[in-house]
Homo-oligomer: 352 residues x 2
């Protein structure tokens, strides 16, 4: 591949050179390009034009060194031999990227073990590697949030924490209402033995979902005994295990609410193994984060879901992060998205 005449953005000119060509000082050129007011309009035009023609692009390292701004969003990514990144992360990333792409923002992933997490946050902040960070999968009293709050770097939490004695900016979906609705529907259909298969118990979203479910059940005068609740990482295998346990009980549930599509895969397998049908024997509702590669309508029996696009959340978070970096957004604004309840064939009136 021959070099096709040095494409003009190939960064072969720096500020000094550019200013020399224009017979202006670096100061003026810099200001012209960064939109400062004290530059004559005529001059600015000349500068901007020349910059484009020569494909001038400020060196980010230099700029960062001088200003402290990085043009980067940071994410501390949990890793470790036994740590699995949530597959939801990919979809979230798609959304984040979608927005970031159009705003010259890159994303820095800093892998870290859980133990080193705090140190990693401190490092990326102290180093000014990133202008803002986002936090995912928050737990109650999440130490990361308190830390970032102290550190004073712009951040947004995807999800919510609880038990913190200060407010912070977040974007969350209304998990409680979602599962409340789901449970209410089941109760209306006459279900009394309802089971919950949830994500990890230390995650706020799981807590909220259980809370919503319980609230609806309580309102309907229905019990939720401990043996009808499971909370674990959201894999197919765990879904299978949990459901198998439920189904083996003397009084098996007539409905199962599940926190993830992947787990529900395991649930349907368990049902099949047990020779039970959906929704004849057991009704099913799951939460759907809207993956392109696995759709609830394509389950053996189309699956009723509480639905919220995790990708859209990624976009929105990028947008808000950008706004915070620019200083346009501040304060501890929390944003809670409503969740759709999508009824499909997997729920039915309870039998008998």
């Amino acid at each position: 591949m021959a070099l096709p005449g040095r494409p003009h953005w190939s960064m072969d000119v720096n500020l000094k050179q550019l200013s020399r060509m224009l017979e202006l000082s670096q100061t003026t050129v810099s200001r012209a390009l960064n939109g400062y007011p004290e530059v004559a309009e005529e001059t600015r035009r000349r500068v901007v034009d020349a910059a484009r023609r020569h494909g001038y692009r400020p060196n980010p390292s230099a700029r960062r060194l001088a200003t402290g701004k990085a043009g980067m969003i940071g994410y501390v990514m949990p890793t470790g031999a036994s740590v699995d990144i949530d597959p939801h992360f990919v979809e979230f990333l798609s959304g984040l990227g979608d927005y970031a792409r159009t705003h010259e923002l890159d994303l820095t992933l800093s892998p870290s073990t859980i133990e080193d997490e705090e140190m990693t946050y401190r490092r990326i902040v102290a180093n000014k590697q990133v202008d803002a960070v986002y936090v995912s999968s928050p737990r109650p009293r999440d130490a990361r949030i308190a830390l970032l709050n102290d550190l004073g770097i712009p951040f947004i939490v995807h999800g919510r924490s609880e038990g913190l004695d200060f407010d912070y900016p977040f974007l969350d979906i209304d998990n409680e209402a979602a599962f409340h609705e789901a449970a209410r529907l089941l109760i209306q259909l006459g279900h009394r033995r309802i089971a919950l298969i949830n994500g990890n118990a230390d995650q706020t979203f799981a807590i909220h979902r259980e809370r919503g479910l319980r609230r609806a059940l309580a309102a309907g005068g229905v019990e939720l005994p401990p043996h009808r609740v499971r909370a674990m990482p959201m894999t197919e295998e765990n879904g299978y295990r949990a459901a198998s346990d439920f189904l083996a009980a003397r009084e098996r549930p007539t409905a199962i609410v599940c926190s993830s599509l992947l787990m529900t895969l395991g649930v349907t397998r368990a049902l099949r193994d047990a020779g039970l049908s959906v929704p004849g024997d057991v009704s099913l509702i799951a939460h759907d984060d809207v993956f392109p590669f696995l759709k609830p309508e394509n389950f053996p029996v189309p699956l009723a879901t509480t639905r919220s696009s995790i990708r859209a959340a990624g976009q929105r978070i990028a947008e808000r992060l950008a706004a915070r970096i620019a200083g346009v957004e501040d304060g501890a604004r929390g944003e809670v998205w409503a969740v759709d309840l999508v009824v499909r064939a997997s729920v039915a009136q309870v039998k008998g």
Copy 2:
């Protein structure tokens, strides 16, 4: 949260300050820390010790500006409303992160549309934002590889391209051999009508898999007519469609080889819909990238697979990338990993 006595790595000391404390020049301190030989051992000890005590951490921006080294691995992430990031990416990322974490390497994701891809690569290289990049999902004659080769930045391709007139470093699994083996097994078991459900036809891995399959079939004197091959994005839905088509044909296949577990989910659904059993009516072999959240042994009938951990590949690529950055590895070394064929209950002797 009260500040717990300013943890010592909070980057409140820079090189100048540190050298002043030690009553040494910045030069010497810098050299001592970076392991240059012309520093007295005694001095080095003092310096290293003081650096640790004061939690000195070089400012990456400054270092980058001075050296051009970034301490970052880059990835140009395809995004767009209709672009879905491959869920495999998460697992790969876990592996990459696993290694990167222990080597002070961060990862920069630069979201980009397909059209802007080349420009994005050029930008991150020109800006010295990253020391090395990796390329995933290569296609034949992949323009990105040619570009990076020209640009002269260290890179590694995860997978392979074909039809390029130069060599380049890559890490790939032996997709051809894997599917060759799979097909050979099926032929040994008497299968003659074998179908293939593949990933996107423009991906090299898909091409290699089909090639391996064809080779084995040819050797066994078996045909692979076009109507028994499908190539499409690897979603559950597409797996279902492809399998449904196959099963609706006059002469339905007695065995299906599938490029992904996610697709195979759809395949088993189609089989169920058609009232067919595995392996009684149809044998199944799929490729398994080893996801924690979906395991072949947990399929309704345990699924035979060609297996290779995509996570391990991520680790290895990070390792090699680091080696290239350090100048320890160079040249166009290609690495091809063997793939295990794991036989499980989903394959059987053909009926009749």
